[in-house]
């Protein structure tokens, strides 16, 4: 930064009030004016001249005007802008997102495959079915099968009523659920539902 002589500083003040000074020079000049009140006086007088030429009667700010405000502001708290939280991207976060997406992709992929091959699902259910008549239902989709399955809660409720014992016995006898334990060809405690029993 070039050190300016007072004459040059006065010329800069003249340019400053005409908005003909670039930002860097303006800031430099303001810093100079902050430490040299004489320069502020020059600025104020130049501005009064301009006002009188325009036809207004101007008043010159008191010499300590800036200083008084500065002192009062020193006693004020700083009024800051609320800071925008910059979230630090933990290395765990992208890994977790990627893993979640991977799992969702696998599930979605399986779902699409399952819907595309309803016959295979039906054939799995066939294993648990004691009644061989299910073969004619092979083409029905999985949702229809699920709707037709008898819920175990309904069975329990009915069996609690002694008046309906006969019905309860009938339903239990025709329940398509099969509980297994260490049976060959079945997973432990797997429950498989069949459908459309008579």
């Amino acid at each position: 930064m070039v050190i300016l002589m007072p004459e040059n500083l006065n010329q800069k003040i003249s340019q400053f009030i005409d908005n003909e000074l670039d930002e860097v020079d303006a800031l430099y000049l303001l810093k100079k004016m902050q430490i040299k009140p004489g320069l502020q006086g020059k600025l104020n007088r130049y501005q009064v001249i301009g006002q009188v030429i325009k036809g207004d009667i101007g008043i010159v700010p008191e010499a300590d005007f800036v200083k008084r405000i500065s002192l009062q502001i020193q006693q004020e708290p700083a009024y800051l802008l609320p800071k925008i939280k910059v979230e630090k991207m933990s290395y765990k976060k992208p890994v977790a997102i990627a893993a979640s997406l991977f799992i969702v992709a696998i599930i979605a992929g399986h779902s699409v495959t399952d819907k595309a091959q309803p016959a295979r699902v039906v054939s799995t259910l066939q294993v648990a079915d004691n009644n061989k008549e299910v073969k004619k239902q092979e083409d029905k989709p999985l949702e229809v099968i699920a709707q037709k399955a008898i819920s175990p809660q309904a069975i329990v409720k009915v069996s609690e009523d002694p008046l309906n014992k006969q019905i309860s016995d009938y339903l239990q006898a025709h329940n398509g659920n099969l509980d297994t334990n260490n049976e060959p060809a079945f997973q432990p405690y797997a429950r498989v539902s069949s459908y459309n029993q008579e």
């Binding site: 000074l21 930002e23 008191e62 800051l80």
Partner: protein
């Protein structure tokens, strides 16, 4: 917007950002830059120069306290200008309530602009000094060399930029810059002794 007013707004934005980050000294620069304009604006409502300066000081303090909410949607000076007008009107309303028996409706704040009795009167000494200042400046302008007089009149009265004045006067921009500065210096050499002996101490 000219390139130079853009510089001025950029400087304001930069200073405001610094204040918003806790740099109180940057606010001093804004006060230096706008003190004259704000005092004149307040003085157009409140004729007493001493009161006008007190209210102008309040304007800057209010602006400082509110600067955290300034988002730069408007130019800083526009924002400051609004604070100044509101502060001056509120001051006049409060004063009128204190000094008069009749009530002034808050909605009638605009009417204050047309009510000189509410604006405060300048003292006779102040009036005399103002006249002396105006006469001194006018005489100094009349005594300026023609190129300087035309240059400063085009700038201050017509509001032309240095480039426009250079075109009008058919001379380089540097010459315009120099002529305007010399004109101001010549007028100031007559004005400064008057202010030093008046109640302004500028």
């Amino acid at each position: 917007m000219t390139q130079h007013s853009k510089y001025s707004e950029q400087l304001d934005d930069d200073l405001v950002a610094r204040v918003q980050q806790g740099d109180k000294a940057a606010f001093d620069f804004l006060v230096i830059k706008y003190q004259h304009k704000i005092i004149q604006l307040v003085n157009s409502y409140i004729k007493d120069s001493s009161e006008a300066q007190d209210v102008a000081q309040e304007v800057f303090l209010k602006a400082y306290r509110a600067i955290g909410s300034f988002r730069g949607d408007a130019a800083f000076y526009t924002w400051l200008y609004r604070i100044a007008i509101n502060t001056a009107k509120n001051y006049l309303l409060a004063r009128s309530r204190r000094s008069s028996s009749y009530e002034v409706d808050i909605q009638d704040a605009e009417a204050i602009e047309n009510a000189p009795q509410l604006q405060g009167m300048e003292t006779p000494e102040r009036h005399l000094l103002n006249e002396e200042i105006v006469d001194t400046i006018k005489i100094a302008i009349e005594n300026l060399p023609e190129e300087m007089r035309i240059a400063i009149m085009l700038r201050e009265f017509e509001g032309l930029s240095y480039e426009e004045i250079a075109v009008a006067m058919d001379c380089p921009v540097g010459t315009v810059r120099s002529r305007i500065f010399r004109a101001r210096e010549a007028i100031d050499s007559k004005l400064n002794p008057l202010l030093e002996h008046g109640d302004f101490d500028a």
